[in-house]
Amino acid sequence: MSDPAITATNSNQSASINGDTQSMARPFIAIGQTVTDFFAWFGELGVFSWRVLRATFTPPFEGREFLRQLDEIGSKSFPLVALAGAAVGAVLSMEARSSLTRFGAKSLLPSAIVYSVIQEMGPIITGLVVSGRVGAGIGAELASMKVTEQIDAIEASAINPYRLLATTRILACILMLPLLTLAADGCGVLMGWLTQTVIEPVSLRQFIDRGFSGATFNDFLPPTFKTAVFGLIVGLIACFQGMRTRGGAEGVGRAATNSVVLSSLFVILADVVLVKFILVVFP
């Protein structure tokens, strides 16, 4: 017959070993879960994109909602984008002036401002500003519709919610981003000139002539049109995050935050890839 004291000790040791094993396995389980969630997210995004694509090319087309989104995403983002572009132009003008003066290349200041603003700063600033304003707006709006069953009500009325809600918003983002970028570029260059004029007066015509001397369409069109890809990213991710929301107010907040964070992240990553692509295709 076994000694009860020894049995109790063995049992305690066994429990302790099990507990140790569990606590040792916990980080690996957490990592496994994160990896699974990561791939599940991309899988769901793929399915969502396919549904949106199919809805985009099948009638009926939601013209009225599309026009409403053009106004919501385009016109209403204009002041913020213009302000951001102007601020970038002013800062660039001040920073570039001091650097170029140090290297005796002050005459290159207009070109430095124009090229910097139009080739990189304007597009990326527009992409990030729109991902903040529009990404959060779309994410929160669709998430709120999801948790209050409004999206289910649309589907129950035999209306394709992907066509009505996602396609219209994504297409509006794709179309409006290049136009907003042009606005940001214009404000950036104008503010760059104004800042320089305050320190050392120069006419706008002279500034523009010097800034654009030797420039070709290849220098400016690809960077402007790459923002259509930013629009696709912002629209797609915001709609996806909004329409997959679960839970109540907390879910809506999470969807808005994730829309901004993820779309900004993907805009930055896409910019790196697109800059390399443009340099290769339009040398």
Partner: protein
């Protein structure tokens, strides 16, 4: 009276011997993860008939309606609307079937960026594109008058009470003149007077439009008032189906308890 031991499907002969069944649910199972919600449920409903589905919270009553309208897919079993099995339908065909159904959501699910009138006009704008603007306006006014909401047509959903939202939801569900009406907790969260008004409204609309209806509810009084038959669910199954009198005479413990508690 039918019980779980005695399958509850009871076809009712229609005029000229035609099958009057408009909706049938056969042995449907549905789980969410490890949680089994519906466990082999079968129901049948005929033209101009109202079936009330009762049961405790979490027994899958609302899930049943979501399966019927196609917002969820069953794990197994079949759901047929006017003889068409939903599982075999394409997206377009599913859309056509949905046009024959009106759905009143538990919290009305009105579009909060649209006015009351725009909410009711919404299905008409999308599915009756040939309808002139004035005809559409007339139809919206007529629907709002039917549910007693004509004076609130320009209000936003956030500016009206829960009971009024349900009335508007009902008007929207009726916009395309559906043949089947699905009502998810039409009286939940309402005071007894508003509940009574909604019940009367549903009865009046059923009489006028001759639709088949499924009403999911906790409210036994409401179920008794507006339905021809009642089905009591427990653990994802129909425990009993029949008239209120048949339920009252049942010897099943759960049925007795449910009737006693409610």
């Amino acid at each position: 009276m039918a019980t779980t031991n005695d399958v509850m499907i009871r076809p009712i002969a229609g005029e000229n011997g035609a099958d009057p069944t408009v909706l049938s649910v056969e042995d449907v199972h549905k789980s969410f993860g490890m949680h089994k919600v519906l466990n082999g449920i079968s129901l049948r409903i005929c033209r101009a008939e109202t079936l009330a589905v009762l049961g405790r919270s979490g027994t899958g009553k609302s899930v049943l309606l979501r399966l019927i309208i196609g917002l969820e897919q069953p794990d197994s079993g079949s759901i047929c609307i006017q003889g068409k099995d939903l599982a075999t339908l394409s997206l377009d065909q599913m859309g056509e079937v949905r046009l024959k159904m009106g759905f009143l959501f538990q919290h009305a699910a009105l579009y909060d960026s649209l006015t009351v009138a725009q909410n009711v006009a919404f299905p008409l704008q999308h599915h009756r594109r040939d309808m002139s603007k004035s005809d559409r306006q007339d139809r919206v006014e007529q629907l709002l008058a039917e549910v007693g909401m004509e004076k609130a047509s320009q209000k936003m959903p956030s500016d009206i009470s829960g009971g009024m939202q349900k009335r508007v939801g009902l008007a929207r569900a009726l916009a395309l003149s559906p043949e089947i009406l699905l009502l998810d907790e039409p009286t939940a969260g309402l005071d007894p007077i508003s509940s009574g008004e909604i019940d009367e409204l549903v009865l009046k609309l059923q009489k006028e439009h001759q639709m088949a209806s499924i009403v999911v509810t906790h409210d036994l009084h409401s179920a008794k008032t507006i339905s021809n038959r009642l089905a009591l669910l427990d653990k994802g199954k129909v425990v009993i189906e029949g008239t209120f009198e048949e339920l009252k005479q049942s010897n099943i413990g759960f049925v007795k308890d449910f009737l006693k508690q409610t």
